[in-house]
Subunit: 115 residues, 4 copies
């Protein structure tokens, strides 16, 4: 299986669920729960590390984290597909909002929101 | 700003952080925490809904959820970029693992893993 | 080991960490991450269940969930202890706030906040 | 309202939910989701802080975090009550398991589990 785009991933997940009769489990509510569980599994790898250690994972650990990141990605794409949300278009809109809320000159060197 | 691919998003986030001197905040550890917080904000929209209600959001609610999904996506892309993880390649590898762990005939109509 | 109160739990956790030189790992930031990871492990047990199934766990599943709830509780007590927060007093204050935000006649039969 | 024990909190939450007809929302599944959302709101306060900063909150920030910790505590007590789980007894059992998995001499100065 080769993915060239997010749409390819969404199509593969649709087929995967259909073959298993999983659509009734894959409600937006359940998928949102599953995605948050997977995001915590990513965090679990980092919870006792220093910031420096978290930036210097060895190859085995990096692959483990990559598989957890893939889980978040798969649920994110599946949930967005079920809701009819386009991730790239939504990211464009959110980046525009972020640019307004965090102007470079105001927030430089700190993370603070202009309210 | 127009995104045609995940790489476009990663490049935009790199520039956004550089302009704000945020690289020192954007350690993998901190980004993993932020991503899990955003995934919970998605879940918060669904926590008291029934499965049926979660599948029938009105337009305003859907846009709110889309902006939360965008937050998860942005942190996921940024974290993967910081770690040198390719999301599409990782998703391919994870889907192959899932196909082995959840064979269609074994798991049909239930979500259960072959151990 | 017998616990009669939250203070007993806090004291036991202090001793447990001291014997293992874990105080340097047990910063509020790290404990907050660990607590959220454990809360997700509770949720993982319920993510594909219906509401009805989630109310009718068998004995083995119930014990597994009880051990995950204990993990959340232990990190919650440890984190509160490290911050100097009294959980019972904080719960009293929060319940008073909730009573104002969710007046019984306003919110009856729905979960909605008076703003 | 004065709480002297976890049982007092559980009783108050039972009455609070009954007055609002919230029992149908307060399924174990929904409460587990709500608890994980609140745990993330605790983490959100710490996500961009250094470990040192997370140990030195000012009074206002500390009270904000205390109210988030209270939210986790309230959902934890409510969920345990709905499941018939005794938190103090469960914490005793879990601490005994932890003592075996993390022997002081083996794990001193690192967090690693004996497998």
């Amino acid at each position: 299986m080769t993915f060239e785009s997010i749409s390819d991933v969404a199509a593969a997940l649709r087929a995967f669920a259909a073959e298993r009769d999983w659509d009734r489990f894959h409600t937006p509510k359940n998928l949102a729960a599953a995605m948050s569980v997977e995001a915590s599994e990513v965090l679990e790898h980092f919870q006792w590390l220093t910031n420096a250690e978290s930036s210097a994972l060895d190859a085995q650990k990096k692959e483990e984290v990559a598989m957890e990141l893939a889980d978040v990605f798969l649920y994110l794409v599946r949930l967005s597909d079920r809701l009819g949300v386009d991730l790239l278009r939504s990211a464009e809109r959110k980046m525009a909002i972020n640019a307004k809320n965090y102007p470079a000159d105001f927030t430089k060197g700190a993370i603070r929101k202009r309210t």
